[in-house]
Symmetry: C2
């Protein structure tokens, strides 16, 4: 919030977090902000995407520390569960701060 006053709005737009700004990752993050955790299969269905594509984007978010991905076997079937982290939540909130300014204008 403090930075917002100092950094010109245009620079903030250009500096929008690319990790979140990609549409599919924005969708993943938006979903994970509103649920405690989400299964891989649930995200895949909601986002109408493929295993491969979803995996790529989840890995990017995981590598950035924005989400945690837990893989385990449940009743002998692999189950992948995703959760937003505190770092991811902060990053998303910073991102949304800029969106709010776009709207206010």
């Amino acid at each position: 919030m403090k930075n917002r006053d100092k950094t010109p709005f245009e620079s903030q737009l250009i500096d929008l977090d690319d990790l979140i700004h990609s549409k599919i990752r924005l969708a993943i993050m938006t979903i994970l902000m509103s649920v405690e955790k989400a299964q891989f299969t649930y995200l895949k269905k909601l986002l109408k995407t493929t295993d491969g594509n979803l995996s790529v984007h989840l890995t990017k978010l995981e590598d950035a520390g924005y989400i945690s991905v837990d893989k385990r076997f449940v009743h002998k079937r692999p189950q992948t569960t995703c959760k937003i982290t505190a770092k991811g939540r902060n990053a998303f909130e910073r991102y949304v701060d800029v969106l709010e300014q776009i709207i206010k204008r």
Copy 2:
């Protein structure tokens, strides 16, 4: 607005207008929404970008009918003026509708 109720939010996110979603074009559109018109040199300075890069993105927006670009000589110097069109304004408002939903969640 009617579509909003029918189309799942996740699909709306994935369907966000790519012409606007690119960060530099989002910045250009946001600026042009708030001014009557803007000079090329003004946009270039605000966005801290090059002639070539700005031209590419302005042409994409112009080709989509989202902005009009007027080139003329003023005191023997070329002057390029950009303005948002009604179509651009509508597209931007649809885009912002989805941003608002991201924030509300």
